[in-house]
Amino acid sequence: MDKIFNDYFQWPVFIKLAAAVSVIAVIGGGLVYLFILLWRRKGYINDRKKARLLPEMRELIVKHVILAKGDVPLEAVTFPLDDFRKLGIRKADVRRFFVEELMEYRRNFSGRPRQLLTRLYTDLGLHHITEKNLTCKRTQGIISALNELISMGVPVNEDKVLPLLDHENRYVREGARCYFVKLSEDRPFFFLEKISTPLLYWEQIEMFRIITQRKDVEIPDFSRWISSEYHPSVISFCLKLAVYYQQFETGPAMMKLLDTENEKLRARLINALGKLMVEKAESRLVAMYCDQPWSCKQEILKALGRIGSGNSLVFLRDKFETEQEIPLVKHAAKSIVNHRALSENLLREMQAGAVGLKHTVLQHAANPLIKY
């Protein structure tokens, strides 16, 4: 052994390095296979444990929550808590399985079973750990806690969640926003005032779902946030909500913003005006068409078709005949078709006169088999 060491120090540097790396690689390789063994073993044990516990958990949940008689008032319902505790929910992994099950059931049920599931969760005191986790150092812990509270519909003291709206981690901020939207009684839209970084599209989808599912709050007039003082992503999000709730009164606020330099936002405003069928916006859209980039032109043509008042048919026909880009020609034709009865004669006349590509575009637009 001494000889090897003595020789080693005599070797050139690169041979020394190669030998050292080889030894590390052999040891590392051994560790890698050990980890594969351990991970697979752990996964196997976990799967087995889950497979054993899940039927028991489901049986208890179904028996005492889902199939519980509906004649007892919600407040008077009691659960055999000891039976649930016997499952071993004090252990972290069992608790996780159990809470995941509760969340899954809660997602799939509405009404009384949904409320009972929340009751069971709080009666078992499972929310205490979750609440504690809101102030833990691990961001993953905070995110999981927020997610659990949202999924189980358990509100906590808002002062605990408020600082999280400004957390350095974006996923924590996102969770805190969702919490407010979902569980705050008096200020579910408070978060919109605090947004200074882009509200990502994923967040918008998530919050849109939560807001549209909430039936216990008064939906505000979204024109309040359709203003240049708010972040463009907030405006964009509120446009979607205004369209969903058919808030026709938001039209003027949208029109006020049409001069924005943000092209994407302008396109979204035009889109929303079309979807809300704001007839007052029609002349403005027609007037601004020529100076617009491609994306806004496309939205204007679509919006005019959605509004469908018949006032813009001449404009649409002109664009159909003069535009060079096929997508714009296609949208002009689609919008004419969307006018239905109002454009029947015009369409017949155009079809009689059109040849080649223009004829194909008209056929395309009128074909019910082609949706887009």
């Binding site: 050139p12 390789g29 980890f35 991970w39 999981s144 779902r209 194909t360 074909n367």
Partner: protein, 477 residues
């Protein structure tokens, strides 16, 4: 004097090779760490992100799934059915019949009750002429659009035609014979919705389906390939996707999104000129052009990879088909550097010019050349009796053990994330490939790459062969 120049040249080459080797191995080590962090981040993200909300949301963006088909009559019906049942709220499936000489189109027409329609086709991207368009009269297949075009002798040509007809802002480029995970679109769209930067492309790992069990176009049991050649490819895919691409994705320096499965921002792909049908590495070429376009328009962008395996494909199972494929890839790489030579070390192209291209130039393009020169030099040393055998053996052990370590870590990450293989035997079978790969598989890759380079330099004509598919093992009824 002459002898001393030769001596110093050789010593210089030895030193340079060693530094080259240490650099590439260090880079692998860095990629290993980056990929681990990225995979972990993705798994954590998915633990609280419910992608199911995309299914219910009216805000979910639409995706056009584009799948070219050339003489796929044997499997086309199952494969199209599988694509039509993808779990996503807003998508269309565009099958581009690329001038098939068998009855692919006939089968599609009769099975899906297709009728010819007038379609306002916008030929923004170049492709061979499109002859006809078909839509189904059956509402169950309303998402299907079939394009019948002249054969363009490349997938790129067919995909361009598909993009021209696509209605949605994103398109998925796949092969009609690939088996996609049912949630593939839900997974792939996530990076596009979840970043401040504009994500222009996203990909996910591909795996080999040769020994998997398939039922009506759906995967029912994942197995590593039984045959040696596909199994080596599986190992290579695991290493390349799980470790390589995930590592590069962590620093937003993904070099390419596989042609078998990639979701792209249509607007940027069109602005960049779409696929180049003359390119032998069209998947890397389009990404380079999209990246160049973003840099030239000064827009921040990202290209992402996610670790979930979402696509299973049949790998070449004969040496002939395999080498033909790899020769084409090798040729494509040289061609790429020839076409986009202005990108290399160009700060205007940011990471593309300063990280992705230099890495690919030194460690992908030059690697086979360095290796071949090294082997020739080694033979020369042996013949001349100039080899210090103990040191030579140490160096060989160094390269061998390190390559095994890297491959093994790739398997480890794979096992940590998804545990696709059911039994221990299957995992061990995969691990064992790492030990034989340097002797059996790597020389094949080396030979094919060099052949591809020579073909390009000598301007030889490339023969496009159709890969004869064996089909998948069907699940017993």
């Amino acid at each position: 004097m002459e002898e001393s120049i030769w001596y110093y040249t050789i010593r210089f080459y030895e030193g340079a090779i060693f530094i080259y080797c240490i650099t590439i191995f260090s880079l692998y080590a860095v990629l290993t760490i980056l990929s681990a962090r990225n995979i972990r981040k993705n798994i954590r993200l998915n633990s609280f992100r419910k992608r199911e909300i995309l299914v219910e949301s009216p805000l979910t963006p639409g995706i056009s799934v584009i799948a070219p088909a050339y003489n796929e009559a044997a499997t086309i019906i199952d494969n199209v059915r599988s694509l039509l049942t993808l779990n996503y709220p807003r998508f269309e499936v565009i099958i581009v019949n690329d001038g098939s000489t068998d009855d692919t189109l006939k089968k599609l027409i009769s099975e899906f009750r297709l009728t010819e329609i007038d379609f306002a086709y916008d030929s923004r991207l170049p492709s061979k002429p499109v002859k006809r368009f078909f839509k189904s009269t059956d509402k169950a297949y309303k998402k299907l659009l079939v394009i019948d075009k002249e054969n363009g002798k490349s997938k790129a040509d067919a995909v361009n035609a598909g993009i021209n007809a696509a209605a949605f802002p994103y398109f998925l480029n796949t092969d009609v014979d690939c088996i996609l995970d049912n949630d593939a679109l839900l997974f792939l769209i996530q990076p596009f919705l979840d970043e401040e930067k504009r994500v222009i492309a996203a990909g996910a790992p591909l795996r080999i389906a040769n020994s998997c069990e398939v039922d009506a176009g759906m995967l029912t049991r994942v197995r590593p390939p039984r045959a040696l050649l596909p199994r080596f490819q599986e190992m290579e895919y695991v290493r390349s996707f799980i470790m390589g691409k995930m590592g590069w994705s962590a620093i937003n320096a993904v070099p390419n999104v596989s042609g078998g499965l990639g979701l792209f921002d249509k607007e940027i792909a069109v602005q960049a000129g779409g696929y180049d049908s003359r390119s032998f590495a069209e998947d890397m070429d389009i990404l380079v052009r999209m990246g160049k376009y973003m840099c030239e328009t000064k827009e921040d962008y990202a290209i992402r990879y996610i670790p979930q395996t979402l696509c299973w494909t049949e790998a070449p199972h004969t040496l002939k088909v395999f080498t033909r494929q790899r020769v084409r890839w090798g040729r494509g790489l040289v061609q790429l550097f020839a076409v986009h030579r202005n990108v290399l070390f160009n700060p205007k192209y940011k990471k593309l010019g300063l990280v992705i291209f230099p890495y690919n130039f030194f460690f992908e393009l030059l690697a086979p050349v360095v290796e071949i020169v090294g082997i020739l030099l080694y033979i020369y040393f042996i013949v001349m009796g100039m080899v210090n055998w103990p040191f030579a053996i140490i160096l060989l052990i160094f390269v061998y053990t390190y390559s095994i370590l890297i491959s093994s870590i790739a398997v480890l990450w794979d096992q940590y994330t998804f545990r696709h293989y059911k039994s221990w035997k299957e995992v061990l079978g995969m691990c064992s490939m790492a030990f034989f790969e340097p002797f059996l598989y790597h020389p094949l890759i080396l030979f094919s790459s060099i052949k591809g380079y020579l073909n390009h330099l000598l301007g030889r004509k490339h023969k496009w062969g159709n890969m004869q598919r064996r089909g998948f093992k069907r699940q017993a009824a």
